[in-house]
Symmetry: C2
Subunit: 350 residues, 2 copies
């Protein structure tokens, strides 16, 4: 097995919905827990790493976004605020300057220093890879390096740059699409199509991601050629996750056809449960500033509506299998996932 964990099962990093508690619990059950660092300062990342290590000796993963930070264009920001202004007025926010939430920042030298100090066993990236010099520094820490591919072309690109394994992210997956070579979401294959084609195209281990929420999905991923699976949405209802109340409430009512890819919440396509914003504005707005700047004007709206117990402007990240979720603690859930997968494989006959 190419992963340092006992089970070939990665808990998908979910920035904003989890921290060390979930990662540590999954590690204790034998999976590879993940710390999402996209919303963390170097100081906070150090704290989160220490918190996992205080809870478990097992290896874990730290995940970073590695987008190129766009130049802020005040005219674009103002136009977006204008598009959202009817909702801001309804929420009583008209005229007040938007309080900024924690920003999604790309992997940089300061975060890299934390890796060099703390040396987690696995480091994964989303939206491609960091610049060569930073990538080399990560590799020199001895970490196993993973990144997401949403197409065969992206998988080949990642392999050529020296990653150790590829996460094949099917179109079903919740949260941000990892796409980085083309922004065309219409081109994104489902996991059933993507996974075997990535397996055929590269000589690296491939991790299957997207709509894997029970033993059937794990067994199917291995049948399609995966060497491991990455499971995210299935952990959102665990007590260890920091999933917000409105997000949990929406997940409990999820249906197979109740998610959409949307750029409304951050400026980049990501899969969310349908809420009022998506329903009324449509899932894609041409006025949304580039990632991650669309989130700025949304953050105060999100906060204002959440105070009313409503997820009207919350990014309700979820994959297409959210309706399969069980409400269980992360350790028994991880064990159940693996036992069910074994049961499915053992019972499979053609």
């Amino acid at each position: 097995m190419f992963l340092p964990s006992r089970l070939p099962l990665i808990q998908a990093p979910m920035a904003g919905a989890q921290g060390p508690a979930l990662a540590a619990a999954v590690c204790r059950a034998g999976g590879l827990g993940s710390l999402p660092a996209a919303l963390l300062t170097p100081a906070l990342l150090r704290e989160h790493v220490a918190a996992v290590r205080a809870a478990t000796d097992a290896p874990f993963n730290v995940n970073f976004f590695c987008h190129v930070q766009p130049r802020r264009d005040e005219a674009v920001q103002a136009r977006w605020a204008q598009a959202l202004s009817p909702y801001a007025a309804e929420a009583g926010l008209g005229g007040t300057p938007a309080p900024r939430g924690p920003a999604r920042t790309p992997f940089d030298a300061a975060l890299c220093e934390v890796l060099e100090e703390t040396r987690p066993a696995v480091v994964s990236f989303h939206f491609g890879l960091p610049p060569d010099d930073l990538l080399e520094r990560v590799q020199r820490t001895g970490a196993l390096v993973l990144s997401s591919a949403t197409t065969v072309a992206e998988a080949r690109w990642l392999q050529a740059r020296g990653v150790d394994a590829i996460i094949a992210q099917g179109a079903e997956a919740g949260g941000h699409r990892g796409l980085f070579l083309s922004p065309d979401v219409g081109a994104q294959p489902g996991l059933f199509a993507l996974l075997p084609q990535v397996v055929d195209a590269v000589h690296l281990p491939v991790v299957a991601a997207g709509a894997i929420a029970d033993g059937r999905g794990i067994a199917a991923a291995f049948a399609l050629g995966a060497s491991a699976v990455q499971v995210g949405t299935a952990y959102l209802l665990t007590p260890e996750a920091t999933t917000s109340d409105v997000h949990r409430a929406a997940l409990r009512k999820a249906t197979d056809d109740g998610t959409r890819l949307t750029n409304l919440f951050t400026g980049r396509p990501a899969r969310s449960l349908v809420n009022r914003a998506i329903r009324e504005m449509g899932p894609f707005s041409e006025w949304a500033p580039p990632f991650p700047l669309a989130a700025e004007a949304v953050a105060p709206l999100r906060a204002a509506f959440e105070k009313l117990g409503r997820g009207d402007f919350s990014s309700l990240w979820a994959g297409e299998a959210a309706a399969l979720l069980r409400e269980e603690a992360a350790e028994p859930l991880t064990r159940w996932l693996w036992e069910e997968a074994r049961r499915v494989v053992d019972g499979l006959k053609l």
Copy 2:
């Protein structure tokens, strides 16, 4: 096994790309061959059924579209012709009345009579089900009745109306989406998500469809709970298929990210390999008349460009796994599919 064939493998009906030869060859290998009737008159359907029966004693499937034929609106047709007029001019078609190809017609009493006479073992529908009186007549022939669901809601609707099995059509599938309760293609789950949720929602056997082109896909579908698989695109390069030359050429260059859902060719969302029409007009046009009337103005363009050896306006139906295709005759291909699936299942270990 709920199907009358030896193998739980249905050759997907592909109107315009196959007829009795492919259906009979799949039947001879133990699969359930299918005759697509969407483009056939009752007289032609009788001939096709007779041709299959002349070639094999095995049971087979006849497939019908059951859309509601829209009222023809000359203004809408003219606007669509106008949108296509630059291409018509380029192809030397300006001003000449469009020759109509064979029309896609919904299942009706005349076609039902052919079923009552010929009594095929299986009848499948796309776009829902025909009116109750016609459905009852089909059921009284003793045929096993199948229809496609693209969401759990559609699966439940079909079960409530008495179908014998449900085809869960993942978003990866080539050709027309079977959707009939909502036209929102953004809501369509991938097979990895759809299949287990449909299996959980109904008490009927579920047939998996979409991106199943080799043994891995078959094994994965059974792991996710399928009772059978439906395989379409994988048969498009067989010599028994009537796939056009431009379509075959495009399939040989297929990539995982090279298909799009489009309404350009018929007015209804369907998955095609990207060609010039999709690239230049975008995959969805608001000017396309309702299904199937968009095809009228496209047909002469398609013919004119195909004469030049180009598929610029051809509906190049293909699923997202088209790059996995093997060029082989339908009988050995069917046997290979099943043998590979067995091999994958036998080798699966967690």
